[in-house]
């Protein structure tokens, strides 16, 4: 599905996006590489011509599109008909019956972006959009501030698109995430600090270097890619919306863009209107949004992260206030869980559904469990839980908590003895036993 690189300069007549608009004060801006309102510093968001979309987009036109996020191209802020398509999106929506039974739910689905292409996290969605737009805006070097997954994705898709790439990460990331970036040959800056410090540094670099930072000056375009997680769920549920979604919260952007995606599908008539409840998941060691929600605040006080869930460890979340607002107005919740619960969440999803997620996914599953136990998710609700990353990247997190193989001699009787004892002993007790 790879497309040839093409550059377009003028806004094509087929383009459905119209401007960048400040979410706070409504000031409008040209469709350039800029992300902040000059008047109030509010975030800029892409606006669309929804009447044009209503007239031109149908369920059939979407279904006739590619098996990737680009089947929703009219809802994404790019002009080209040949976007960078590396097969991103259209990940499985798995009906999770065993997990549902374990938790006491009746209709639970997992949106499994642990197998998103090409780098096994939802970030491939936002990066595919950001780099397509970066090319349209004439950038030759792309960059990002990342907790790991974004660096993987930016480096991989930049390699595919032939763009130069320099990524910034906290120096203490999991080995798999560092290796999974270096392999694509970008320049990797491992910053001695936490993500928020990396982010601040990148804002200063973006001021001076003229690079396309996917989550800074390209952020209005980049973040729109997350809407596809809303579109796909609606389409995969048979063109209807779920009752309740549970998603991880880092910056809060993913959460608010899934919401925007659902609202847009309602607006253009692709699905029937429905009140979907939005619940968010944070790790206790970095839960500024959950704290604001709990305390009824409309501002988010930054924190210094200390959790194994590094991919969502953003202490100063840019879209935190919007996430709080959405959870409140949809009658949802924002909860946090501790590191031990996160590991249990990873194991629970693996053991019941055969899906190995990273710490962010463990956080989301643990919060799902907590919300069900607290009666905050009705068993009758059709609930979709978003799993956004792959466990093979954060193996350190579960090492030591999942037992060891039973080491045996290459003899039948050794196997038989081991099997018999494995039935009678708890698996943990077997860890150190040489049969």
């Amino acid at each position: 599905m790879t497309q040839a690189i093409q550059t377009q300069t003028a806004l094509s007549s087929a383009a459905t996006f119209t401007a960048l608009k400040c979410k706070e004060c409504g000031e409008e801006y040209e469709l350039k590489a800029t992300h902040v309102c000059e008047f109030c510093f509010g975030p800029l968001e892409v606006t669309y011509d929804y009447s044009k979309l209503s007239q031109t987009v149908t369920r059939e036109t979407i279904q006739a599109g590619p098996n990737s996020i680009w089947r929703y191209r009219p809802f994404l802020p790019v002009e080209t008909d040949t976007p960078i398509d590396v097969g991103t999106g259209m990940t499985p929506l798995v009906q999770a019956n065993r997990l549902a039974r374990r938790l006491g739910l009746k209709k639970l689905f997992i949106k499994n972006d642990a197998v998103n292409m090409p780098t096994l996290s939802f970030k491939d969605r936002v990066v595919s959009v950001a780099l397509t737009r970066a090319r349209e805006l004439g950038f030759s070097t792309v960059s990002c501030a990342s907790t790991g997954n974004l660096a993987n994705s930016t480096a991989a898709i930049a390699a595919h698109a032939g763009l130069d790439c320099c990524v910034f990460i906290p120096a203490d990331l999991e080995a798999g995430k560092i290796l999974g970036t270096l392999i694509y040959g970008p320049t990797v800056m491992a910053v001695q600090g936490n993500y928020d410090q990396v982010n601040r540094l990148c804002c200063e670099v973006a001021n001076s270097h003229g690079w396309g930072f996917v989550n800074i000056n390209l952020r209005p375009y980049y973040s729109e890619g997350s809407k596809t997680l809303g579109y796909e769920v609606a389409e995969q549920l048979g063109w209807q919306l779920p009752d309740h979604i549970v998603a991880p919260l880092a910056s809060g952007s993913l959460f608010s863009k899934i919401y925007k995606g659902f609202q847009e599908f309602i607006k253009v008539g692709l699905v029937e209107e429905k009140a979907v409840r939005f619940s968010g998941a944070q790790a206790e060691g970095c839960s500024p949004i959950a704290q604001a929600f709990r305390e009824g605040r409309d501002f988010v006080t930054p924190v210094k992260p200390n959790t194994i869930a590094k991919s969502i460890a953003i202490g100063n979340p840019a879209d935190g206030v919007y996430a709080v607002d959405i959870a409140r107005k949809t009658n949802g919740n924002i909860e946090s869980v501790n590191d031990a619960e996160i590991i249990e969440g990873i194991k629970l999803l693996a053991e019941t559904e055969g899906i190995f997620t990273e710490t962010a996914g463990g956080t989301t599953i643990a919060v799902l469990k907590k919300l069900v136990e607290a009666g905050k998710i009705d068993p009758e609700e059709t609930t979709v839980t978003y799993i956004t990353g792959n466990g093979l990247k954060t193996q350190e997190a579960v090492q030591g908590y999942i037992g060891e193989p039973l080491t045996i001699e290459p003899k039948l009787d050794s196997f038989e003895r081991a099997l018999e004892r494995s039935h009678t002993l708890g698996r943990l007790e077997w860890q150190q036993v040489l049969v």
């Binding site: 992300h35 902040v36 000059e38 109030c40 510093f41 501030a145 600090g193 601040r200 200063e204 001021n207």
Partner: protein, 91 residues
């Protein structure tokens, strides 16, 4: 008390495109007034009508967020670096 102030792109039209300037102030509050004197109009972009910092503006003193220090009362020393950074980034 001269400190170095890093100016983000959206405000550089006030500073004649300078990304870094020298300015005086013993605290962030004083620095804001000093910035306004030197670059009229800049304070209204950083503060709301009540004079509070806008919620999408972050101030850092020597790389530390002032919300982990004393907020607008954070004191400044000769040679400190104050960075003004839009909050909307990352994630």
């Amino acid at each position: 008390m001269a400190v170095k102030v890093l100016i983000p792109t959206p405000l550089q039209k006030f500073t004649k495109d300078q990304a870094a300037i020298e300015c005086d102030g013993g605290t962030i509050t004083e620095l804001l007034d000093s910035l306004e004197q030197n670059f009229p109009g800049i304070k209204a972009r950083l503060c709301d009508d009540q004079g509070e910092l806008r919620r999408f503006v972050n101030f850092y003193v020597n790389s530390e967020d002032i919300r982990f220090l004393d907020g607008k009362q954070t004191s400044l020393s000769e040679g400190d670096e104050v960075s003004i950074v839009p909050a909307v980034a990352g994630g």
